[in-house]
């Protein structure tokens, strides 16, 4: 068993005579209680139990105090004293904690079981020696009446002391032993013999409890001897009436008064010489062994008799019945009321009351018995008495844990004891607080720490219970001690919680340094990750390392923010102090505050914290609020203050942001080449185009490794920044740190110029890309290592720009354990510009062109490299119509109509070799030379367009190629809306009438210069070849006006290539339908007839001129490609040239050349898509073949469906058009005069049947059905045909035939010319000889809407 706490030791009061106090004072000695206290505890004291067994005590503690002090203190109200005590303890701790923490930090030992504040608290609590109403430990057991022989009449002084009654209140136990002490100093007026005589007289008069103490007390006091420190005691209340009392016994001005914290660090010393010490020690021992202990043993024996008599069966039975019947505990028990302790003051009414009920009665004899037995070490008796007391609800549960062996029951005892003290719920009275504290202190001190911390007892929790809800320093320290004990039990997380709550309470008491210390401890404890008994393969399967787990995010900020805040409060305090100039503090704390606030800003890694709110319960938090803004503001204030007060320290202080703004993986280097649309994959298409082209020409040279950055040229780093905080931040002076790669430490700032961006403001969680430009003045490899910025414009910060390398999978070890390649830094190779051809568009006045405009531009090529450039090519996309070089539109032949031979191929134009000549005209460009190449761009796609050109160049014929990119964005505005429609003509000469309608969509007047039509089969003419009418109408169209004109188309028989083209297409499509490979053959060339209608033939453009031809060809090519892609989506675009020809033979294209003089624009607009003439299902046979072919079954429904769709697309294509080729038109005189008096008349009618087929001869049968002469409607009469009514014949292709018939008219009227039926028969020209040719039949009937009619009038009537 651990020794009892010192507060459970006998309390002995000393009453001094005034002469003794003077004597001690004159020998520079402290008051007698203090001197005697120095000899406590006594070693090797033996006591005896009631059963006369001896109990050895290795140390036996005693408490001495001044009687009058105790008497006086007993008068004070307990509550008031408790308030004073708590304040006193708080003040003591507050005053000394700075020093403690400094000492502790010096020692660096953090896990010491004892902390100075806990010791202090314990000593303060145990130093309380004022008798309490609730327990008897502080009630004096003995009173020593001390005199000195220096008194004028010592015997009289002794008698006076003995005669003085004890001035205790009634509730203090008056059962005390009286002891007389005579101090005989050497320089006393009495001789030794006289003193011995006095002693004998005293013994005779006052009993054997007396002692003569001979002291030498030399006049120059001997050197001080260190003695144990006294327990601190609560100073007396500053009551006015007490001063007289204090003054009388001279205690208030004693030099070494305990409890005065004037000199806490000075050792407690007594200036006594060795002999005197020996004497005093002998006295103390004799007092204890010869008087005190026997007296106590006797008391115990007597009281035990009483006690055990009450424990006998009848009384127990009786008392238990009493309990059963619930009579109040205060009723006196008949037998064991025990007339209290020995009544030296007789006649006092004795009451047995519960230990915890305060009343004007001394502690019960039973309780005193228990206490005495405890003090004497008679544990068996003590435990049984305490148990009895506990069962009666009179206390004892607080002492039992000290005496019993550890068991879970002790926890219950402890909690019951605490509940007895403080039964009220919320508010703990100060007095109760103190008692709780005392209990906790006794337990902590009286139970060996091994037992106390065992999992059975869980002593740390006892302290927490004792701390309760009180928000005073003592309870906070209790929590702190609990935390310390918990951390020793390795319950670190609980310890941290208790540290935090201790800090919370201390903060309210205003004890900042300890608050901070506790918060720090909590922080340290939270940082420690408790070891997990998890399988290592758990981490492996999770792909995480055991270190990077994260705990509750709210906790650390919950600790650190108050921690930081207290720093801030300190710093503000310091600020005020500095103004007052009173206190000197070091401002190191501000620095730490700044660091702390900074560490709080750790960005977001939030998990879902959700909550339900139902009904009235919804008064909780409305969502998870990020504290970033608060933290950031605090940080800003703290840092601002720091920088204001300590600029030199602030500048060197190493602040490091705990999060990153830069997203390394998204940060890129960008070069001037790819500034516009580097991401566009069209560039690689261009390069591929070039490679294919060059290979097709037999060239083997490839592209040289392109030089990304060259000296003197700007390039950029696109910094991807993301704000991880939930608040707005600004970064000032954002720039990059660059290093030269091969020289490890040398900064490249000497030759690389890096842009500095003044201010970047990022909103909460905002991501942004910020380009920072760099220029290098000479070649080298530079590494971009860091980004540098001023966070909040307050301090510099840098971030590494290295991105983690890719995961390695090469070896088994790497696969099992995630291994990464070394970090990747952005490296830029800067080369001398050797091969550098700069290409640029010049003369581009505006980025807006109108639809169909021929935009004239210049390409400026300049050799910026150091080497020669011999040849350069330009690669454009297939959708671009770009004429490179000087224009040539003009006609070389005089005739307006001409025949053009076309390759009829859809092959896109090849890369164009640029005419590179320098100023003097020699080919090639030397370094520094430049040239200009004219360009004409034509575009009829409306909207935003991007022109991307790849300029490929090289030094000489064998050198590899380099390329430069050229990009131009422009917008195309609509200009003209053109319609071209054709219908069978009524005129005999021309099969078709064409109507051209134009609407000017712009606001400017458009002048039409020339209309060119192109067709392999048709030529266009004006009526009677007189174009003047057409030209006149087309002359100019004002803004937003429309215009239309009509001309005619007729067959051009000299053309060739019609059937070849059709055969080519049907063969290719047939192989597609059969899934065969397409042969690498191109369509046969075709001749085109070109009709040109122009106002002024001298300036007319000729289709044979290269530029005109280029644009007409490519315009058609773009159109056909686009149409085919739409109609035949299953055929890849690359194979169009092998399948489809450029011109459908029956097509008729028109091109209109125009000028806008007001805007100095000119251009041409194409109209495509018109086909004239009847088709005869040219692909019918191959489609049938394909359909009738043995169907290859496919297991995929999709494949079948796709095949069907291909077939349908081909069936519906323009090559497979089929129609009735004959168009009937009638010719008759409009009006015939006939005198019907002369009889009926015959009117001749002729029908023209025109065969619109260009290839087939058509058989026809025409039947005239007239003659019914019924009135079809009110206005017209059906024609009464007469004579031959059925006509048969055949019409060769593109020919017409006239059928003559007659009407037999018997009366005047309007006769329609309908009522005919035409049967047509077309014979397919089957290419397969075995199959008989197929015939197609068509039936055509006159339509009732045909209003061809004949009016026959009788002149007599009119």
């Amino acid at each position: 068993m651990a020794p009892l706490p010192s507060s459970l030791s006998p309390h002995i009061c000393i009453l001094l005579s005034p002469d003794l106090s003077e004597l001690l004072e004159s020998s520079s000695l402290p008051p007698l209680p203090h001197i005697l206290q120095s000899f406590s505890p006594l070693p090797q004291v033996t006591t005896r139990t009631t059963s006369l067994a001896s109990v050895p005590h290795t140390s036996f503690a005693l408490r001495f105090s001044d009687l009058s002090e105790i008497e006086h203190a007993c008068q004070e109200d307990e509550e008031q004293r408790a308030v004073r005590t708590i304040d006193w303890i708080s003040a003591r701790i507050n005053k000394r904690c700075v020093k403690w923490i400094q000492d502790l930090e010096k020692v660096g030992e953090k896990d010491a079981l004892r902390t100075p504040w806990w010791d202090e608290l314990r000593r303060c609590a145990e130093g309380d020696h004022i008798p309490s109403r609730t327990e008897g430990w502080n009630h004096p057991i003995a009173v020593i009446l001390a005199v000195s022989t220096a008194a004028p009449n010592p015997l009289q002084a002794i008698t006076a002391l003995h005669a003085r009654p004890l001035q205790f209140p009634s509730w203090v136990d008056s059962n005390v032993m009286r002891y007389t002490l005579i101090i005989h100093p050497q320089h006393s007026s009495l001789s030794d013999e006289e003193a011995a005589a006095l002693f004998n007289a005293v013994k005779k008069q006052f009993g054997l409890h007396s002692y003569l103490l001979n002291l030498r007390l030399p006049t120059p006091p001997p050197p001080p001897v260190p003695v144990p420190a006294l327990l601190p005691r609560l100073p007396s209340p500053p009551m006015p009436e007490s001063s007289t009392m204090n003054g009388s016994d001279g205690l208030s001005n004693t030099p070494n008064r305990p409890g005065t914290p004037t000199s806490p660090n000075v050792l407690n010393t007594v200036r006594m010489e060795e002999g005197d010490i020996q004497q005093t020690s002998r006295f103390t021992r004799e007092f204890v062994v010869m008087s005190l202990i026997p007296w106590m043993e006797k008391c115990v024996l007597d009281w035990n008799e009483n006690f055990s008599s009450t424990r006998r069966l009848p009384s127990r039975l009786f008392s238990s019945t009493r309990r059963l019947f619930g009579s109040p505990a205060s009723s006196p028990a008949p037998t064991h009321n025990s007339s209290s302790s020995v009544s030296s003051l007789p006649g006092r009414p004795m009451q047995t009351t519960g230990g915890n009920v305060s009343g004007p009665s001394p502690p019960s004899q039973q309780r005193r018995l228990a206490e005495f037995a405890t003090i004497l070490g008679d544990l068996k008796l003590a435990v049984s008495v305490w148990e009895a007391l506990r069962k009666e609800g009179k206390g004892g549960s607080d002492i039992l844990p000290l005496l019993l062996t550890p068991s879970p029951a002790l926890q219950l005892h402890a909690s019951a004891a605490l509940m007895n003290i403080n039964p009220l719920a919320s508010d703990i009275l100060p007095h109760a607080q103190l008692r709780l504290l005392l209990c906790a202190v006794r337990w902590e001190a009286g139970i060996s720490s091994r037992d106390f911390l065992s999992s059975v007892m869980e002593g740390d929790r006892w302290l927490v219970w004792a701390a309760g809800n009180a928000e005073e320093a003592p309870s906070a320290l209790l929590l702190a001690q609990a935390a310390l004990l918990s951390s020793r039990r390795h319950a670190r997380r609980r310890a941290a919680l208790w540290y935090v709550s201790a800090a919370n309470r201390l903060e309210k008491c205003g004890i900042k340094p300890l608050t901070m210390y506790f918060l720090r401890r909590a922080q340290d404890l939270y940082k420690v990750r408790p070891p997990k008994s998890l399988s290592p393969s758990f981490w492996e399967s999770e792909g995480k390392s055991p270190q990077d787990t994260e705990g509750f995010d709210g906790i650390t900020s919950g600790i650190e923010h108050p921690l930081g805040k207290s720093f801030k409060i300190l710093s503000l305090m310091i600020l005020n102090m500095a103004y007052a100039g009173r206190l000197l503090y070091t401002t190191g704390d501000i620095e730490e505050a700044v660091h702390l606030f900074l560490s709080l800003l750790r960005g977001s890694s939030r998990i879902l914290f959700s909550q339900t709110e139902e009904g009235a319960g919804g008064d909780g938090e409305t969502g998870i609020q990020s504290n970033d803004k608060v933290f950031l503001d605090d940080f800003r204030v703290a840092l601002g203050h720091f920088q204001a007060t300590e600029p030199e320290k602030a500048s060197v202080s190493n602040l490091k942001l705990p999060f990153k703004f830069c997203l390394q993986h998204q940060t890129r280097v960008r070069f001037s080449d790819d500034n516009i649309d580097a991401q566009s994959d069209e560039w690689s298409v261009r390069e591929q185009t070039w490679k294919t082209f060059w290979k097709s020409r037999g060239g083997t040279e490839t592209f040289a490794k392109s030089v990304k950055a060259s000296t003197g040229e700007l390039f950029w780093v696109d910094m991807a920044l993301r704000n991880p905080l939930d608040t707005e931040v600004n970064l000032a002076n954002v720039t990059l740190v660059v290093q030269e790669s091969n020289a490890t430490d040398s900064s490249a700032e000497t030759f690389v110029e890096v842009e500095v961006i003044q201010d970047v403001v990022l909103a909460a969680y905002e991501s942004r890309i910020i380009p920072i430009s760099l220029t290098a003045t000479h070649a080298g490899v530079i590494t971009i290592t860091h980004v540098k910025y001023d966070f909040l414009s307050l301090f510099h910060s840098t971030e590494l720009l290295a991105a983690r390398g890719h995961r390695l999978h090469d070896t088994a070890a790497q696969r099992q354990k995630p291994t990464y390649a070394p970090d990747v830094l952005m490296k830029v190779e800067i080369n001398e510009a050797k091969h550098k051809l700069q290409a640029q568009f010049i003369d581009v006045r505006s980025s807006i062109i109108v639809e169909g405009e021929d935009k004239r531009m210049k390409l400026w090529l300049s050799n910026a490299g150091s080497l020669y450039v011999q040849e350069a090519w330009i690669v454009a996309g297939p959708e671009v119509e770009l004429w490179v070089g000087t224009e040539d539109w003009e006609s070389r032949s005089s005739s307006t109509n001409s025949v053009l031979s076309s390759s009829n191929s859809l092959v896109p134009p090849e890369p164009f070799r640029l005419p590179v000549t320098n100023d003097v005209g020699t080919p090639g460009l030397n370094s520094g030379e430049s040239t200009e190449v004219p360009l004409v761009l034509h575009d009829d796609r409306i909207g935003e367009q991007q022109l991307r050109l790849l300029v490929v160049y090289r030094e000489n014929n064998t050198a590899p190629f380099y390329c430069a990119r050229l990009s131009l964005g422009y917008e195309v505005h609509p200009l003209l809306s053109i319609s071209l429609t054709a219908e069978p003509s009524q005129l005999m000469e021309y099969p078709y009438t064409l109507e051209l309608g134009l609407v000017n969509l712009s606001s400017a007047a458009v002048e039409l210069k020339q209309i060119v039509t192109l067709s392999p089969l048709w030529k266009c003419t004006a009526a009677q070849n007189d174009w003047s009418v057409v030209i006149h109408t087309l002359h100019s169209i004002s803004g937003l006006q429309s215009s239309r004109t009509v001309f005619f188309a007729s067959r051009w028989f000299e053309g060739s290539g019609y059937t070849e083209t059709v055969d080519f297409v049907s063969e290719k499509l047939s192989s597609i339908l059969h899934g065969k490979e397409i042969t690498q053959t191109y369509p046969p060339p075709i001749n085109l007839y070109c009709s040109s209608i122009t106002q002024d033939s001298s300036v007319s453009k000729s289709v044979t001129a290269p530029t005109t031809h280029y644009f007409l060809h490519n315009g058609r090519r773009k159109f056909v490609s686009a149409t085919t892609a739409r109609i035949q989506p299953y055929i890849p675009a690359a194979s169009y040239p092998l399948i489809f020809p450029l011109y459908t033979p029956a097509s008729l294209d028109a091109t209109i050349f125009w000028d806008i003089p007001s805007q100095q624009r000119s251009g041409h607009t194409n109209i495509f898509g018109l086909t004239l003439g009847a088709g005869h299902a040219a692909l019918d046979s191959i489609i049938e073949n394909a359909e009738s072919a043995k169907v290859k079954r496919s297991m995929y429904a999709e494949t079948r469906r796709e095949n069907m769709e291909v077939l349908e697309a081909i069936r519906g294509s323009e090559w497979n058009k089929e129609m009735d080729p004959i168009v009937v038109s009638s010719h008759q005189p409009d009006e015939t005069l006939h005198d019907f008096s002369t009889g009926s008349c015959q009117v001749p009618v002729s029908f023209t049947l025109r065969n619109y087929s260009v290839t087939r001869t058509v058989q026809f049968t025409m039947k005239l059905k007239g003659g019914s002469s019924s009135v079809r409607n009110r206005n017209s009469i059906s024609p009464p045909y007469s004579g031959r009514l059925t006509f048969r014949g055949s019409i060769p292709p593109s020919e017409s035939i006239a059928i003559e018939s007659k009407l037999w008219i018997t009366r005047p009227g309007t006769y329609t010319l309908g009522e005919w039926l035409l049967e047509t028969e077309v014979e397919d020209d089957s290419r397969i000889a075995s199959v008989p040719p197929k015939r197609r039949r068509y039936l055509q009937e006159s339509r009732p809407t045909d209003n061809a009619s004949i009016i026959v009038c009788d002149p007599r009537i009119s």
Partner: protein, 178 residues
């Protein structure tokens, strides 16, 4: 009456948390016995007394800014308590084999119950009243929901649970049982 649920991974990373305000009438039958309980009614005696009287601590509602330890609804305090209770839970896990750890720890007015799945996941519930069967049923429900979440092949033991479905169902279960 509020409840705080935390789902912790085997390495104690919080994956999900829920604050549930119960509409169930807090057993406010404050018997004289219960009203005598101290707020730090963490003692075993107080616990049995609470059990006897069926009353919860009557002093759970603190008003105003005075943040009493554990009394306020401060998120970090709640988290600290949940975190601190892990010490006891781990102790018990070592000794016992049950999944449902009933009222393993107490901090001021908060009682901590826990549920340990076979995969070492810890469900921690901070509650004020006593509702053994309800809490057990709630834990079993949450367990089932968690297992369903774990069936997602992309869900690891450390993936925070953000599924709205999971959240909704846990809430529904909390409404039902707590």
């Amino acid at each position: 009456m509020s409840h705080h649920l935390f789902l912790l991974s085997p390495s104690d990373t919080p994956l999900y948390s829920l604050t549930h305000y119960s509409t169930k009438p807090a057993p406010s039958v404050t018997s004289p016995l219960a009203s005598n309980l101290p707020t730090w009614s963490t003692s075993a005696f107080a616990g049995t007394l609470t059990a006897l009287s069926g009353a919860s601590s009557a002093t759970q509602h603190t008003t105003g800014g005075a943040v009493r330890m554990g009394g306020g609804q401060d998120r970090h305090v709640i988290q600290m308590i949940a975190n601190a209770s892990l010490d006891v839970i781990e102790d018990i896990m070592r000794k016992e084999n049950t999944m449902y750890l009933k009222s393993v720890d107490k901090f001021n007015e908060w009682t901590v119950s826990a549920f340990i799945t076979a995969g070492n996941m810890k469900f921690i519930l901070l509650h004020e009243g006593k509702n053994d069967d309800g809490i057990r049923a709630f834990f079993v429900d949450v367990w089932e929901l968690y297992v369903k979440t774990m069936l997602n092949p992309f869900h690891t033991a450390h993936t925070p649970i953000r599924s709205a479905v999971f959240d909704g169902r846990v809430r529904a279960s909390a409404k039902k049982y707590l």
